[in-house]
């Protein structure tokens, strides 16, 4: 998206622009790899400290997957867990003055396309190609074009649901910070006092509430769509 609110280009490699989205994704990836490396050293039979937290997290993800997709599809838990943890970190990046990678439609569309291909690949694998293709003629054959369009609409709505929420918060917050800075300058304050406290409740709503909720919804919808395609 060009215009005032798009991600900035940090540098270029051989003419390919590398935006904030990409560099911030790298930062999150590095932190997550570091975390999983540190957290999985020295596992003991009786968990202590960090191991408690990690076991709780992994256990919760497995339980959620089993509850939503059914016990037979527990194999999806590692992917769902990765997706959920990455999305939560990405959406909360705004709290640390990083532009959330999910505020770029390229990121969310990429993730939604993974879901899209999972839906159709596992649908075909489980049902067989013939039965899978026949599903497009339900309930009556004349619905074929509608069924195809509604399948294509799934990744669009999935990606823009996340993107719209995060970029919406980003735009509102950046306008608020700009407005507060302007207000401070007008009164003649040299210290950014207004920016210190006033945005906090809005950060709670847009970054923490919307960010965590949308990560959860994205993962849940992925699970529901994939398991529905397989049944």
């Amino acid at each position: 998206m060009e215009g005032g609110f798009g991600p900035k280009i940090v540098f270029e490699i051989a003419g390919i622009p590398i935006t904030e989205t990409v560099t911030n994704t790298w930062i999150i990836m590095a932190l997550l790899i570091l975390f999983s490396f540190v957290a999985t050293r020295k596992f003991e039979y009786m968990p202590r400290g960090l191991q408690n937290f990690v076991e709780l997290l992994v256990d919760g993800i497995y339980k959620l997957t089993a509850q939503t997709m059914g016990k037979d599809k527990i194999g999806f838990a590692p992917y769902i867990g990765t997706l959920l943890i990455y999305l939560v970190c990405a959406n909360l990046a705004g709290l640390f003055a990083l532009r959330p990678p999910t505020a770029d439609v390229n990121t969310t569309m990429g993730l939604a396309l993974i879901t899209f291909f999972m839906i159709h690949f596992f649908g075909m694998k489980k049902k067989g190609v013939g039965k899978y293709l026949k599903g497009f003629l339900d309930p009556i054959p004349i619905m074929l074009p509608m069924n195809i369009i509604s399948e294509l609409a799934t990744p669009i709505s999935l990606s823009f649901r996340l993107f719209g929420n995060i970029v919406g918060g980003l735009i509102i917050m950046s306008l608020l910070y700009g407005g507060l800075a302007g207000l401070g300058a007008k009164i003649g304050l040299s210290m950014p006092i207004f920016q210190a406290a006033i945005p906090v409740p809005l950060h709670l709503y847009f970054d923490v509430f919307a960010g965590v909720l949308q990560s959860f919804i994205f993962s849940m919808l992925t699970m529901v769509f994939v398991s529905m395609a397989m049944d």
Binding site: G168, I217, L221
Partner: protein, 267 residues
Amino acid sequence: MENTNFIVIFLNWLLSFDKKALILGASAIGAGFAMIAGIGPGIGQGYAAGKGAEATSTNPKGSKHSTMIMLLGAGIAETSGILSLVIALILLFGNPLIKQDGDGLIIAVSAIAAGIAMIAGIGPGIGQGYAAGKGCEAASMNPDGSRPSTLVMLLGSAVAQTSGIFSLVIALILMYANPLVTGHQSTIIVAASTLGAGIAMIAGIGPGIGQGYAAGKGTEATGKRPKYQSNVIKTMILGQAVAQTTGIYALVISLVLMFANPLMKLL
């Protein structure tokens, strides 16, 4: 010779203004239109609040819990209002249309159409509010089943948002990448098509309310019998997918008007 056709007079009057002034004026109208979507979250959250009050009297001990669920649901129901606010703010503060080359009238109409498209937010707002109310009710009736029923509420509400998201997509296309702005033969048809692309999206009100109703009933059903959560989810999502159909028709028409307009060939 005086032209007596009202539309021609009106268009000539519009074209007598500076291009930039025309776009800015239209952006103001568009921002206003976008905010009409606020009707939805208003009604929906009011319903949720009412159900919250009812839940408190039914089960005073669990009132803290049902209030939390009400606030969670109301927070989701706010989404379409916020998306509209974002479109309005982009039109007011970061307007991408001013810098665009092309016919002033068409760019101006794009701003209005982007605003009109967002009116669809009324639907998801009402629907998600209904789901939030039902979630609140379910939590007070059967506190043990509140976890699965809240989950169904979240999922159902997320699906009910779909038509609002389609509107957002159309509004963003209209503002950032309207294919009609350059390379056209007839200004009036292109301008009207752009406006039509925005108006078509209003249909999203229907799926939003309908899917929200499904989400609410799914939440209620799960609250009563948490054991059947996954069956309820499947039926709910299937029904919601069918309810989405008219919204998808609107999206298709809107995209056809912008990217593959058959009316241009008739000239």
